[in-house]
Protein backbone atom coordinates (compact mmCIF):
# COMPACT_ATOMS: atom_id res chain seq x y z
CA UNK A 1 0.00 0.00 0.00
CA UNK A 2 1.21 3.52 -0.68
CA UNK A 3 2.60 5.50 2.25
CA UNK A 4 1.10 8.94 2.70
CA UNK A 5 1.53 11.76 5.14
CA UNK A 6 -1.50 12.58 7.21
CA UNK A 7 -2.01 15.90 5.48
CA UNK A 8 -1.89 14.21 2.08
CA UNK A 9 -4.37 11.60 3.17
CA UNK A 10 -6.81 14.29 4.25
CA UNK A 11 -6.24 16.18 1.03
CA UNK A 12 -7.07 13.03 -0.91
CA UNK A 13 -10.24 12.57 1.10
CA UNK A 14 -11.34 16.10 0.28
CA UNK A 15 -10.41 15.64 -3.37
CA UNK A 16 -12.30 12.37 -3.69
CA UNK A 17 -15.42 13.70 -2.01
CA UNK A 18 -15.36 16.82 -4.15
CA UNK A 19 -15.18 14.57 -7.17
CA UNK A 20 -17.81 12.16 -5.92
CA UNK A 21 -20.51 14.62 -4.92
CA UNK A 22 -21.26 17.80 -6.78
CA UNK A 23 -22.72 19.33 -3.59
CA UNK A 24 -19.48 19.19 -1.64
CA UNK A 25 -17.56 22.45 -1.36
CA UNK A 26 -14.59 23.62 0.70
CA UNK A 27 -13.59 27.01 2.04
CA UNK A 28 -11.67 28.83 4.71
CA UNK A 29 -8.66 31.06 5.18
CA UNK A 30 -5.89 30.38 2.66
CA UNK A 31 -7.47 27.14 1.47
CA UNK A 32 -8.06 28.23 -2.12
CA UNK A 33 -5.13 29.69 -4.01
CA UNK A 34 -2.53 28.64 -1.48
CA UNK A 35 -3.96 25.22 -0.71
CA UNK A 36 -4.20 25.56 3.04
CA UNK A 37 -1.49 26.59 5.47
CA UNK A 38 -0.94 22.91 6.23
CA UNK A 39 -1.34 21.88 2.60
CA UNK A 40 -4.52 19.94 3.24
CA UNK A 41 -6.19 21.50 0.22
CA UNK A 42 -3.19 21.65 -2.09
CA UNK A 43 -4.26 22.08 -5.73
CA UNK A 44 -7.91 21.49 -4.94
CA UNK A 45 -8.95 24.89 -6.20
CA UNK A 46 -7.11 24.30 -9.46
CA UNK A 47 -8.87 20.95 -9.82
CA UNK A 48 -12.37 21.86 -8.73
CA UNK A 49 -12.56 25.55 -9.48
CA UNK A 50 -13.00 28.61 -7.28
CA UNK A 51 -16.76 28.10 -7.11
CA UNK A 52 -16.24 24.97 -5.04
CA UNK A 53 -12.94 25.63 -3.29
CA UNK A 54 -12.28 29.16 -2.15
CA UNK A 55 -10.59 31.59 0.19
CA UNK A 56 -12.52 33.55 2.75
CA UNK A 57 -11.75 36.68 4.68
CA UNK A 58 -10.49 36.39 8.25
CA UNK A 59 -14.03 36.05 9.62
CA UNK A 60 -14.64 32.83 11.49
CA UNK A 61 -18.30 33.57 12.25
CA UNK A 62 -18.96 34.31 8.61
CA UNK A 63 -17.11 31.18 7.52
CA UNK A 64 -19.13 28.94 9.80
CA UNK A 65 -22.31 30.85 9.02
CA UNK A 66 -21.72 30.28 5.32
CA UNK A 67 -21.38 26.58 6.00
CA UNK A 68 -24.61 26.47 7.99
CA UNK A 69 -26.62 28.39 5.41
CA UNK A 70 -25.17 26.34 2.59
CA UNK A 71 -26.05 23.12 4.39
CA UNK A 72 -29.57 24.47 5.00
CA UNK A 73 -30.03 24.90 1.28
CA UNK A 74 -28.74 21.75 -0.26
CA UNK A 75 -24.94 21.81 -0.22
CA UNK A 76 -22.50 19.72 1.80
CA UNK A 77 -19.91 22.28 2.88
CA UNK A 78 -16.56 21.66 4.52
CA UNK A 79 -15.39 24.78 6.36
CA UNK A 80 -11.85 25.02 7.61
CA UNK A 81 -10.99 26.66 10.91
CA UNK A 82 -7.21 26.87 10.86
CA UNK A 83 -6.71 26.12 14.57
CA UNK A 84 -9.50 24.98 16.85
CA UNK A 85 -8.42 27.79 19.18
CA UNK A 86 -9.78 30.32 16.68
CA UNK A 87 -13.29 28.96 16.76
CA UNK A 88 -13.88 31.13 19.83
CA UNK A 89 -14.42 34.13 17.58
CA UNK A 90 -17.08 32.39 15.52
CA UNK A 91 -18.55 29.58 17.54
CA UNK A 92 -22.19 30.71 17.48
CA UNK A 93 -23.12 29.44 14.00
CA UNK A 94 -21.85 26.01 14.97
CA UNK A 95 -23.17 25.55 18.51
CA UNK A 96 -26.26 27.75 18.60
CA UNK A 97 -27.32 27.35 15.00
CA UNK A 98 -26.06 24.21 13.24
CA UNK A 99 -26.39 21.96 16.28
CA UNK A 100 -29.95 23.11 16.96
CA UNK A 101 -31.52 23.92 13.61
CA UNK A 102 -32.76 20.48 12.78
CA UNK A 103 -34.40 20.07 16.14
CA UNK A 104 -35.77 23.61 16.43
CA UNK A 105 -37.38 23.33 13.02
CA UNK A 106 -39.15 20.15 13.94
CA UNK A 107 -36.89 18.07 11.73
CA UNK A 108 -37.45 20.08 8.56
CA UNK A 109 -33.84 20.17 7.55
CA UNK A 110 -30.64 18.22 7.57
CA UNK A 111 -27.35 19.98 8.20
CA UNK A 112 -24.66 18.05 6.37
CA UNK A 113 -21.57 20.10 7.12
CA UNK A 114 -18.06 19.52 8.37
CA UNK A 115 -15.91 21.86 10.39
CA UNK A 116 -12.38 20.82 9.48
CA UNK A 117 -9.83 21.83 12.07
CA UNK A 118 -6.83 20.71 14.09
CA UNK A 119 -5.78 20.74 17.71
CA UNK A 120 -3.03 20.19 20.17
CA UNK A 121 0.29 21.33 21.49
CA UNK A 122 3.89 20.32 20.99
CA UNK A 123 4.92 23.01 18.53
CA UNK A 124 5.76 25.79 21.01
CA UNK A 125 2.93 27.96 19.81
CA UNK A 126 1.68 28.73 23.31
CA UNK A 127 -1.72 29.07 24.91
CA UNK A 128 -3.79 30.34 21.99
CA UNK A 129 -2.55 27.87 19.38
CA UNK A 130 -2.40 24.58 21.29
CA UNK A 131 -5.80 23.78 22.71
CA UNK A 132 -7.89 20.64 22.66
CA UNK A 133 -11.52 21.72 22.90
CA UNK A 134 -13.33 18.53 21.91
CA UNK A 135 -15.13 18.39 25.26
CA UNK A 136 -17.04 21.56 24.44
CA UNK A 137 -18.46 20.19 21.22
CA UNK A 138 -19.14 16.73 22.57
CA UNK A 139 -21.32 18.37 25.25
CA UNK A 140 -23.46 20.23 22.72
CA UNK A 141 -26.39 18.09 21.60
CA UNK A 142 -26.53 17.91 17.84
CA UNK A 143 -22.84 17.84 16.93
CA UNK A 144 -20.73 14.85 16.01
CA UNK A 145 -17.10 14.92 17.05
CA UNK A 146 -14.37 13.11 15.15
CA UNK A 147 -10.72 12.78 16.22
CA UNK A 148 -8.53 10.72 13.92
CA UNK A 149 -5.21 9.41 15.17
CA UNK A 150 -3.80 7.53 12.18
CA UNK A 151 -3.26 8.37 8.56
CA UNK A 152 -5.68 5.67 7.50
CA UNK A 153 -8.39 7.02 9.78
CA UNK A 154 -7.66 10.61 8.92
CA UNK A 155 -8.73 9.85 5.40
CA UNK A 156 -11.52 7.40 6.07
CA UNK A 157 -13.15 9.38 8.84
CA UNK A 158 -13.02 12.60 6.86
CA UNK A 159 -14.88 10.95 4.03
CA UNK A 160 -17.44 9.56 6.44
CA UNK A 161 -17.83 12.97 8.07
CA UNK A 162 -18.51 14.58 4.71
CA UNK A 163 -21.12 11.96 3.90
CA UNK A 164 -22.85 12.29 7.25
CA UNK A 165 -26.09 14.28 7.27
CA UNK A 166 -25.35 15.99 10.59
CA UNK A 167 -22.95 18.75 11.58
CA UNK A 168 -19.58 17.20 12.33
CA UNK A 169 -16.48 18.74 13.80
CA UNK A 170 -13.41 16.91 12.57
CA UNK A 171 -10.29 17.62 14.61
CA UNK A 172 -6.92 16.29 13.53
CA UNK A 173 -3.78 16.37 15.70
CA UNK A 174 -1.37 19.00 14.40
CA UNK A 175 1.69 17.26 15.80
CA UNK A 176 0.99 14.33 13.45
CA UNK A 177 0.92 16.58 10.41
CA UNK A 178 3.95 14.77 9.03
CA UNK A 179 3.11 11.26 10.19
CA UNK A 180 3.29 8.67 7.45
CA UNK A 181 1.00 5.70 7.17
CA UNK A 182 -0.42 3.23 4.71
CA UNK A 183 -3.49 4.14 2.76
CA UNK A 184 -5.18 1.71 0.36
CA UNK A 185 -5.41 2.66 -3.29
CA UNK A 186 -9.06 1.67 -3.39
CA UNK A 187 -11.75 3.83 -1.87
CA UNK A 188 -12.79 3.29 1.73
CA UNK A 189 -14.54 5.10 4.54
CA UNK A 190 -14.21 4.64 8.29
CA UNK A 191 -17.71 4.84 9.73
CA UNK A 192 -18.40 7.27 12.54
CA UNK A 193 -19.12 5.62 15.87
CA UNK A 194 -16.79 2.64 15.67
CA UNK A 195 -13.88 2.45 18.06
CA UNK A 196 -10.88 0.34 17.15
CA UNK A 197 -8.74 -1.89 19.33
CA UNK A 198 -5.24 -0.86 18.32
CA UNK A 199 -3.50 -3.44 20.43
CA UNK A 200 -4.71 -6.41 22.46
CA UNK A 201 -3.96 -6.93 26.10
CA UNK A 202 -5.44 -8.64 29.11
CA UNK A 203 -4.36 -6.52 32.07
CA UNK A 204 -5.30 -2.92 31.43
CA UNK A 205 -7.52 -1.05 29.00
CA UNK A 206 -6.09 2.24 27.82
CA UNK A 207 -8.52 4.43 25.93
CA UNK A 208 -6.52 7.11 24.17
CA UNK A 209 -7.52 9.77 21.68
CA UNK A 210 -5.77 11.58 18.87
CA UNK A 211 -2.03 12.13 19.46
CA UNK A 212 -2.23 10.13 22.67
CA UNK A 213 -3.02 6.94 20.79
CA UNK A 214 0.59 6.90 19.66
CA UNK A 215 1.99 7.57 23.08
CA UNK A 216 -0.27 4.90 24.56
CA UNK A 217 0.93 2.40 21.99
CA UNK A 218 4.54 3.28 22.69
CA UNK A 219 3.96 2.88 26.41
CA UNK A 220 2.22 -0.44 25.83
CA UNK A 221 5.13 -1.62 23.76
CA UNK A 222 7.63 -0.51 26.37
CA UNK A 223 5.69 -2.39 29.03
CA UNK A 224 4.94 -5.42 26.91
CA UNK A 225 7.00 -7.77 29.06
CA UNK A 226 5.37 -6.51 32.18
CA UNK A 227 1.74 -5.60 31.50
CA UNK A 228 -0.66 -6.60 28.77
CA UNK A 229 -2.15 -3.33 27.68
CA UNK A 230 -5.12 -3.12 25.38
CA UNK A 231 -5.21 0.18 23.55
CA UNK A 232 -8.51 1.48 22.25
CA UNK A 233 -8.93 4.48 20.01
CA UNK A 234 -12.57 5.67 20.09
CA UNK A 235 -12.01 7.65 16.84
CA UNK A 236 -15.26 9.53 17.35
CA UNK A 237 -16.50 10.98 20.63
CA UNK A 238 -20.00 11.55 19.35
CA UNK A 239 -21.19 8.98 18.61
CA UNK A 240 -19.13 7.16 21.21
CA UNK A 241 -18.63 3.44 20.78
CA UNK A 242 -18.86 2.60 24.44
CA UNK A 243 -19.54 -1.07 23.75
CA UNK A 244 -16.04 -1.72 22.47
CA UNK A 245 -14.61 0.01 25.51
CA UNK A 246 -16.90 -1.91 27.86
CA UNK A 247 -15.98 -5.23 26.29
CA UNK A 248 -12.35 -4.51 26.92
CA UNK A 249 -12.82 -3.26 30.46
CA UNK A 250 -14.89 -6.33 31.29
CA UNK A 251 -11.89 -8.37 30.25
CA UNK A 252 -9.10 -6.36 31.88
CA UNK A 253 -10.91 -4.89 34.87
CA UNK A 254 -8.82 -1.74 34.61
CA UNK A 255 -9.34 1.48 32.69
CA UNK A 256 -6.97 4.33 32.01
CA UNK A 257 -8.11 7.13 29.72
CA UNK A 258 -5.42 9.32 28.16
CA UNK A 259 -6.08 12.57 26.40
CA UNK A 260 -4.15 15.73 25.77
CA UNK A 261 -6.83 18.16 26.97
CA UNK A 262 -6.99 19.32 30.56
CA UNK A 263 -7.94 16.34 32.74
CA UNK A 264 -10.58 18.31 34.60
CA UNK A 265 -14.03 18.33 33.03
CA UNK A 266 -12.56 16.61 30.00
CA UNK A 267 -13.81 13.81 27.82
CA UNK A 268 -12.05 11.18 29.91
CA UNK A 269 -14.42 11.85 32.76
CA UNK A 270 -17.38 11.02 30.52
CA UNK A 271 -15.83 7.76 29.40
CA UNK A 272 -15.33 6.85 33.03
CA UNK A 273 -18.90 7.85 33.85
CA UNK A 274 -20.28 5.55 31.20
CA UNK A 275 -17.98 2.70 32.12
CA UNK A 276 -18.65 2.79 35.86
CA UNK A 277 -22.36 3.09 35.20
CA UNK A 278 -22.35 -0.11 33.19
CA UNK A 279 -19.38 -2.16 34.34
CA UNK A 280 -18.84 -1.14 37.93
CA UNK A 281 -18.67 -4.68 39.23
CA UNK A 282 -16.13 -5.76 36.66
CA UNK A 283 -13.64 -3.08 37.67
CA UNK A 284 -10.79 -4.27 39.87
CA UNK A 285 -9.51 -0.83 40.62
CA UNK A 286 -10.44 2.80 40.21
CA UNK A 287 -10.41 4.00 36.61
CA UNK A 288 -8.15 6.96 35.99
CA UNK A 289 -7.83 9.83 33.54
CA UNK A 290 -4.42 11.04 32.53
CA UNK A 291 -4.79 14.37 30.78
CA UNK A 292 -3.19 17.76 30.37
CA UNK A 293 -1.94 19.67 33.38
CA UNK A 294 -4.71 22.23 33.39
CA UNK A 295 -2.79 25.41 32.84
CA UNK A 296 -2.80 27.51 29.67
CA UNK A 297 -0.27 25.84 27.39
CA UNK A 298 3.14 27.40 28.06
CA UNK A 299 5.38 28.45 25.20
CA UNK A 300 8.71 27.06 26.29
CA UNK A 301 9.38 23.47 25.40
CA UNK A 302 10.29 22.25 28.85
CA UNK A 303 6.99 23.45 30.34
CA UNK A 304 4.99 22.43 27.31
CA UNK A 305 6.25 18.89 27.68
CA UNK A 306 5.41 18.93 31.34
CA UNK A 307 1.89 20.03 30.47
CA UNK A 308 1.17 17.16 28.06
CA UNK A 309 0.93 13.48 28.95
CA UNK A 310 4.14 11.77 27.88
CA UNK A 311 4.89 8.12 27.25
CA UNK A 312 6.61 7.98 30.63
CA UNK A 313 3.51 9.32 32.37
CA UNK A 314 1.42 6.59 30.79
CA UNK A 315 3.91 3.97 31.83
CA UNK A 316 3.89 5.27 35.39
CA UNK A 317 0.09 5.39 35.51
CA UNK A 318 -0.19 1.88 34.11
CA UNK A 319 2.28 0.48 36.63
CA UNK A 320 0.48 2.20 39.46
CA UNK A 321 -2.86 0.75 38.38
CA UNK A 322 -1.45 -2.72 38.18
CA UNK A 323 -0.37 -2.50 41.82
CA UNK A 324 -3.94 -2.47 43.09
Amino acid sequence: MPQLKMIRAMCEALDEELRRDERVCLFGQDVGEFGGVFGTSARLQAKHGPRRVFDTPLSEAAILGTAVGAAMSGLRPVAEIMYIDFITVGIDPLVNQAAKLRYMSGGQMTLPMVVFTQCGAGTSEAAQHSQCLEAWFAHVPGLKVVMPATVYDAKGLLKAAIRDDNPVIYIWPKLLYDLKGEVPEEEYVVPLGEAVVRRDGADLTVVATSLMVHRALAAAEALSDEIGIEVIDPRTLVPLDIETILASVRKTGRLLVVHEANTRFGIGAEIIRQVVERAFDQLTCAPVVLGGAGVPMPFTRVLENACMPQEQDIIAAARKMLKC
Partner: protein
Protein backbone atom coordinates in the same frame (compact mmCIF):
# COMPACT_ATOMS: atom_id res chain seq x y z
CA UNK B 1 -49.09 54.74 -6.14
CA UNK B 2 -50.37 54.56 -9.65
CA UNK B 3 -47.55 52.28 -10.84
CA UNK B 4 -48.32 49.50 -8.37
CA UNK B 5 -51.11 47.10 -9.39
CA UNK B 6 -54.27 47.18 -7.29
CA UNK B 7 -53.88 43.54 -6.23
CA UNK B 8 -50.45 44.31 -4.86
CA UNK B 9 -51.83 47.23 -2.89
CA UNK B 10 -54.51 45.03 -1.44
CA UNK B 11 -51.93 42.37 -0.69
CA UNK B 12 -49.98 44.95 1.31
CA UNK B 13 -52.98 45.78 3.41
CA UNK B 14 -54.01 42.22 3.84
CA UNK B 15 -50.53 41.30 5.11
CA UNK B 16 -50.50 44.25 7.49
CA UNK B 17 -53.97 43.42 8.79
CA UNK B 18 -52.94 39.83 9.31
CA UNK B 19 -49.82 40.77 11.20
CA UNK B 20 -51.61 43.28 13.37
CA UNK B 21 -54.46 40.92 14.06
CA UNK B 22 -52.09 38.09 14.81
CA UNK B 23 -50.08 40.17 17.27
CA UNK B 24 -53.14 41.44 19.09
CA UNK B 25 -54.58 37.96 19.42
CA UNK B 26 -51.33 36.47 20.63
CA UNK B 27 -50.81 39.22 23.15
CA UNK B 28 -54.26 38.70 24.57
CA UNK B 29 -53.97 34.93 24.64
CA UNK B 30 -50.47 34.89 26.04
CA UNK B 31 -51.37 37.33 28.78
CA UNK B 32 -54.33 35.22 29.71
CA UNK B 33 -52.25 32.04 29.72
CA UNK B 34 -49.40 33.66 31.59
CA UNK B 35 -51.88 34.58 34.29
CA UNK B 36 -52.99 30.97 34.33
CA UNK B 37 -49.37 29.93 34.93
CA UNK B 38 -49.21 28.38 31.49
CA UNK B 39 -46.26 30.40 30.35
CA UNK B 40 -45.48 30.29 26.66
CA UNK B 41 -42.09 31.95 26.57
CA UNK B 42 -41.12 35.35 25.30
CA UNK B 43 -43.40 37.24 22.94
CA UNK B 44 -41.87 39.97 20.80
CA UNK B 45 -44.59 41.95 19.10
CA UNK B 46 -44.16 43.19 15.56
CA UNK B 47 -46.99 45.69 15.92
CA UNK B 48 -46.04 48.99 14.35
CA UNK B 49 -43.48 47.53 11.95
CA UNK B 50 -45.98 45.85 9.62
CA UNK B 51 -45.10 47.97 6.60
CA UNK B 52 -41.59 46.60 6.52
CA UNK B 53 -42.46 42.93 6.28
CA UNK B 54 -45.41 43.63 3.98
CA UNK B 55 -43.31 45.72 1.60
CA UNK B 56 -40.31 43.41 1.53
CA UNK B 57 -42.35 40.23 1.46
CA UNK B 58 -44.23 41.36 -1.63
CA UNK B 59 -40.96 41.45 -3.60
CA UNK B 60 -40.03 37.87 -2.86
CA UNK B 61 -40.62 34.62 -4.62
CA UNK B 62 -41.65 31.54 -2.75
CA UNK B 63 -38.23 30.01 -3.36
CA UNK B 64 -36.33 33.01 -2.05
CA UNK B 65 -34.76 32.56 1.36
CA UNK B 66 -35.59 34.60 4.38
CA UNK B 67 -33.80 34.83 7.74
CA UNK B 68 -35.85 36.36 10.49
CA UNK B 69 -35.23 37.44 14.07
CA UNK B 70 -36.65 37.07 17.57
CA UNK B 71 -39.28 39.60 16.44
CA UNK B 72 -40.28 37.61 13.42
CA UNK B 73 -44.03 36.96 13.33
CA UNK B 74 -44.51 39.64 10.70
CA UNK B 75 -41.73 38.29 8.52
CA UNK B 76 -43.20 34.80 8.60
CA UNK B 77 -46.70 35.97 7.73
CA UNK B 78 -45.41 38.11 4.88
CA UNK B 79 -43.49 35.15 3.47
CA UNK B 80 -46.71 33.19 3.43
CA UNK B 81 -46.39 30.91 6.43
CA UNK B 82 -49.61 29.01 6.96
CA UNK B 83 -51.54 30.67 9.77
CA UNK B 84 -52.76 27.46 11.29
CA UNK B 85 -49.25 26.09 11.56
CA UNK B 86 -48.03 29.36 12.89
CA UNK B 87 -50.53 29.74 15.70
CA UNK B 88 -50.12 26.07 16.54
CA UNK B 89 -46.39 26.66 16.86
CA UNK B 90 -46.98 29.57 19.19
CA UNK B 91 -49.05 27.24 21.32
CA UNK B 92 -46.38 24.54 21.28
CA UNK B 93 -48.47 22.03 19.38
CA UNK B 94 -47.34 19.07 17.29
CA UNK B 95 -49.11 20.61 14.29
CA UNK B 96 -47.00 23.76 14.54
CA UNK B 97 -44.68 24.75 11.74
CA UNK B 98 -41.73 23.63 13.89
CA UNK B 99 -43.72 20.84 15.56
CA UNK B 100 -43.79 22.76 18.82
CA UNK B 101 -40.03 22.50 19.22
CA UNK B 102 -39.28 26.06 18.09
CA UNK B 103 -41.93 28.44 19.35
CA UNK B 104 -42.33 32.13 18.68
CA UNK B 105 -38.66 32.79 18.00
CA UNK B 106 -38.15 29.79 15.73
CA UNK B 107 -40.78 29.75 13.04
CA UNK B 108 -39.59 27.54 10.22
CA UNK B 109 -41.03 26.55 6.91
CA UNK B 110 -38.29 25.49 4.58
CA UNK B 111 -40.78 24.78 1.79
CA UNK B 112 -41.43 28.51 1.45
CA UNK B 113 -37.89 29.64 2.20
CA UNK B 114 -38.69 30.67 5.77
CA UNK B 115 -35.37 29.69 7.30
CA UNK B 116 -36.36 30.50 10.84
CA UNK B 117 -36.25 33.23 13.38
CA UNK B 118 -33.31 33.48 15.71
CA UNK B 119 -32.87 33.77 19.43
CA UNK B 120 -29.38 35.11 18.99
CA UNK B 121 -29.43 38.77 18.01
CA UNK B 122 -27.47 38.97 14.77
CA UNK B 123 -27.47 35.19 14.59
CA UNK B 124 -29.12 35.03 11.18
CA UNK B 125 -26.64 37.34 9.49
CA UNK B 126 -23.86 34.77 8.99
CA UNK B 127 -26.34 32.10 7.89
CA UNK B 128 -27.70 34.28 5.11
CA UNK B 129 -24.27 34.14 3.49
CA UNK B 130 -24.72 30.42 3.10
CA UNK B 131 -28.04 30.37 1.31
CA UNK B 132 -26.81 33.16 -0.93
CA UNK B 133 -23.63 31.26 -1.75
CA UNK B 134 -25.68 28.16 -2.33
CA UNK B 135 -27.99 29.95 -4.76
CA UNK B 136 -25.01 31.15 -6.80
CA UNK B 137 -23.46 27.70 -6.56
CA UNK B 138 -26.56 26.01 -7.85
CA UNK B 139 -26.89 28.72 -10.45
CA UNK B 140 -30.41 29.72 -9.46
CA UNK B 141 -31.44 33.34 -9.12
CA UNK B 142 -32.84 32.92 -5.62
CA UNK B 143 -32.45 35.93 -3.37
CA UNK B 144 -31.83 35.86 0.37
CA UNK B 145 -33.44 38.44 2.63
CA UNK B 146 -31.89 38.93 6.02
CA UNK B 147 -33.77 40.92 8.65
CA UNK B 148 -32.10 42.37 11.72
CA UNK B 149 -32.60 45.21 14.16
CA UNK B 150 -30.85 48.44 15.04
CA UNK B 151 -29.36 46.67 18.03
CA UNK B 152 -28.07 43.80 15.93
CA UNK B 153 -26.10 46.28 13.83
CA UNK B 154 -23.63 46.47 16.74
CA UNK B 155 -22.83 42.79 16.53
CA UNK B 156 -19.60 41.59 14.98
CA UNK B 157 -21.65 39.32 12.74
CA UNK B 158 -23.09 42.38 10.98
CA UNK B 159 -19.64 43.43 9.87
CA UNK B 160 -18.32 40.01 8.94
CA UNK B 161 -21.44 39.27 6.95
CA UNK B 162 -21.74 42.47 4.97
CA UNK B 163 -18.04 42.33 4.26
CA UNK B 164 -18.13 38.80 2.93
CA UNK B 165 -21.33 39.38 1.01
CA UNK B 166 -19.82 42.43 -0.66
CA UNK B 167 -16.62 40.58 -1.55
CA UNK B 168 -18.55 37.78 -3.20
CA UNK B 169 -21.43 39.84 -4.59
CA UNK B 170 -23.86 37.59 -2.81
CA UNK B 171 -27.55 38.03 -3.70
CA UNK B 172 -28.64 39.32 -0.30
CA UNK B 173 -30.98 42.08 0.76
CA UNK B 174 -30.11 43.21 4.26
CA UNK B 175 -33.14 44.74 5.92
CA UNK B 176 -32.26 46.59 9.09
CA UNK B 177 -35.45 47.41 10.96
CA UNK B 178 -34.44 50.40 12.98
CA UNK B 179 -37.24 50.61 15.51
CA UNK B 180 -35.02 52.85 17.61
CA UNK B 181 -34.62 50.47 20.52
CA UNK B 182 -32.74 47.35 21.41
CA UNK B 183 -34.71 46.01 24.35
CA UNK B 184 -34.72 49.13 26.55
CA UNK B 185 -31.69 50.77 24.96
CA UNK B 186 -32.08 53.65 22.53
CA UNK B 187 -30.37 53.33 19.17
CA UNK B 188 -28.15 56.28 20.01
CA UNK B 189 -26.42 54.05 22.54
CA UNK B 190 -25.84 51.39 19.93
CA UNK B 191 -24.87 53.49 16.97
CA UNK B 192 -22.79 56.67 16.99
CA UNK B 193 -23.99 57.83 13.57
CA UNK B 194 -27.39 58.92 12.37
CA UNK B 195 -28.02 56.24 9.79
CA UNK B 196 -26.99 52.62 9.96
CA UNK B 197 -27.45 52.51 6.21
CA UNK B 198 -24.40 54.73 5.84
CA UNK B 199 -22.26 51.81 6.88
CA UNK B 200 -22.88 50.30 3.46
CA UNK B 201 -20.13 52.56 2.15
CA UNK B 202 -17.63 50.68 4.30
CA UNK B 203 -18.34 47.64 2.14
CA UNK B 204 -18.76 49.38 -1.18
CA UNK B 205 -22.39 48.40 -1.50
CA UNK B 206 -25.53 50.53 -1.86
CA UNK B 207 -27.29 51.57 1.31
CA UNK B 208 -30.56 53.41 1.68
CA UNK B 209 -32.63 54.91 4.43
CA UNK B 210 -36.28 54.01 3.96
CA UNK B 211 -39.42 55.35 5.60
CA UNK B 212 -40.26 52.08 7.24
CA UNK B 213 -43.85 52.97 8.07
CA UNK B 214 -44.66 53.67 4.45
CA UNK B 215 -45.30 50.32 2.83
CA UNK B 216 -44.94 51.76 -0.65
CA UNK B 217 -41.57 53.25 0.15
CA UNK B 218 -40.42 49.92 1.55
CA UNK B 219 -41.77 48.08 -1.45
CA UNK B 220 -39.98 50.37 -3.90
CA UNK B 221 -36.64 50.19 -2.11
CA UNK B 222 -36.90 46.44 -1.63
CA UNK B 223 -37.93 45.84 -5.23
CA UNK B 224 -34.84 47.60 -6.41
CA UNK B 225 -32.59 45.74 -3.98
CA UNK B 226 -34.12 42.39 -4.86
CA UNK B 227 -33.73 43.14 -8.56
CA UNK B 228 -30.06 44.00 -8.07
CA UNK B 229 -29.48 40.81 -6.12
CA UNK B 230 -31.29 38.70 -8.67
CA UNK B 231 -29.31 40.24 -11.47
CA UNK B 232 -26.04 39.27 -9.83
CA UNK B 233 -25.13 42.76 -8.72
CA UNK B 234 -24.65 41.89 -5.10
CA UNK B 235 -26.03 42.90 -1.73
CA UNK B 236 -27.87 46.03 -0.60
CA UNK B 237 -28.37 47.42 2.88
CA UNK B 238 -31.79 48.91 3.56
CA UNK B 239 -32.45 50.68 6.82
CA UNK B 240 -36.16 50.97 7.53
CA UNK B 241 -36.91 53.56 10.18
CA UNK B 242 -39.84 52.40 12.22
CA UNK B 243 -41.11 51.85 15.74
CA UNK B 244 -42.59 49.01 17.68
CA UNK B 245 -45.86 49.84 19.42
CA UNK B 246 -45.35 47.51 22.34
CA UNK B 247 -42.64 47.09 24.90
CA UNK B 248 -39.66 44.90 23.96
CA UNK B 249 -41.47 41.75 24.96
CA UNK B 250 -44.39 40.70 27.02
CA UNK B 251 -42.51 40.43 30.30
CA UNK B 252 -40.61 43.71 30.08
CA UNK B 253 -42.45 46.91 31.05
CA UNK B 254 -42.75 49.90 28.74
CA UNK B 255 -40.04 52.49 29.30
CA UNK B 256 -40.03 54.85 26.35
CA UNK B 257 -40.90 58.56 26.45
CA UNK B 258 -44.63 59.16 26.05
CA UNK B 259 -44.27 61.90 23.42
CA UNK B 260 -42.03 59.72 21.32
CA UNK B 261 -44.55 56.90 21.40
CA UNK B 262 -47.39 59.19 20.53
CA UNK B 263 -45.56 60.72 17.62
CA UNK B 264 -44.91 57.29 16.19
CA UNK B 265 -48.40 55.99 16.90
CA UNK B 266 -49.65 58.90 14.85
CA UNK B 267 -47.67 57.44 11.99
CA UNK B 268 -49.17 53.97 12.31
CA UNK B 269 -48.28 52.19 9.07
CA UNK B 270 -51.74 50.73 8.63
CA UNK B 271 -53.53 54.00 9.23
CA UNK B 272 -51.20 55.79 6.86
CA UNK B 273 -51.78 53.26 4.15
CA UNK B 274 -55.52 53.02 4.62
CA UNK B 275 -55.76 56.79 4.39
CA UNK B 276 -53.87 56.68 1.12
CA UNK B 277 -56.00 53.88 -0.27
CA UNK B 278 -59.14 55.78 0.62
CA UNK B 279 -57.75 59.05 -0.72
CA UNK B 280 -56.89 57.51 -4.04
CA UNK B 281 -60.09 55.50 -4.10
CA UNK B 282 -58.36 52.16 -4.35
CA UNK B 283 -60.64 50.66 -1.73
CA UNK B 284 -63.98 51.66 -0.32
CA UNK B 285 -64.81 51.48 3.36
CA UNK B 286 -66.77 48.35 2.51
CA UNK B 287 -63.75 46.76 0.86
CA UNK B 288 -61.75 47.54 3.95
CA UNK B 289 -64.33 46.06 6.26
CA UNK B 290 -64.57 42.93 4.16
CA UNK B 291 -60.83 42.49 4.17
CA UNK B 292 -60.64 43.03 7.92
CA UNK B 293 -63.41 40.52 8.51
CA UNK B 294 -61.78 37.95 6.25
CA UNK B 295 -58.49 38.33 8.07
CA UNK B 296 -60.17 38.12 11.43
CA UNK B 297 -61.90 34.92 10.38
CA UNK B 298 -58.63 33.38 9.27
CA UNK B 299 -57.12 34.18 12.63
CA UNK B 300 -60.06 32.83 14.55
CA UNK B 301 -59.86 29.64 12.53
CA UNK B 302 -56.15 29.36 13.15
CA UNK B 303 -56.57 29.73 16.89
CA UNK B 304 -59.28 27.10 16.78
CA UNK B 305 -57.03 24.78 14.82
CA UNK B 306 -54.19 25.32 17.23
CA UNK B 307 -56.35 24.85 20.28
CA UNK B 308 -57.69 21.61 18.96
CA UNK B 309 -54.26 20.26 18.09
CA UNK B 310 -52.37 17.88 20.37
CA UNK B 311 -49.17 18.63 22.22
CA UNK B 312 -46.15 16.59 21.20
CA UNK B 313 -45.75 13.23 22.84
CA UNK B 314 -42.94 13.33 25.40
CA UNK B 315 -41.94 9.86 24.27
CA UNK B 316 -40.90 11.52 21.03
CA UNK B 317 -38.46 13.85 22.74
CA UNK B 318 -35.36 12.51 21.03
CA UNK B 319 -36.88 10.95 17.97
CA UNK B 320 -35.66 12.38 14.65
CA UNK B 321 -32.98 14.26 16.51
CA UNK B 322 -30.19 13.00 14.30
CA UNK B 323 -30.59 12.87 10.56
CA UNK B 324 -30.47 9.35 9.05
Amino acid sequence: MIDVPRETLIQFLRTMYLIRGFELKMLMLFQRRALAGDFLGALHSYEGQEAVAAGVGACLRKDDYQFSTHRGHGHAIAKGLDLNKMVAEMFGKETGCSRGRGGSMHLFDVSIGQMGGNGIVGGGLPLALGTAYSALYRNTDQVTVCYFGDGAASQGSFHESLNMAALNKYPIVYVCENNHYAATTHVSKNCPIENIADRAAGYGIPGAVVQGNDVLAVYRAASEAVARARAGQGPTLLECKTYRHRAHCMVIPEHRPEEEREAWLARDPINLFVAKLREENVMTQDDLNRLAAEVEQALVDAVKFADASPFPDPQMLSVDFWAN
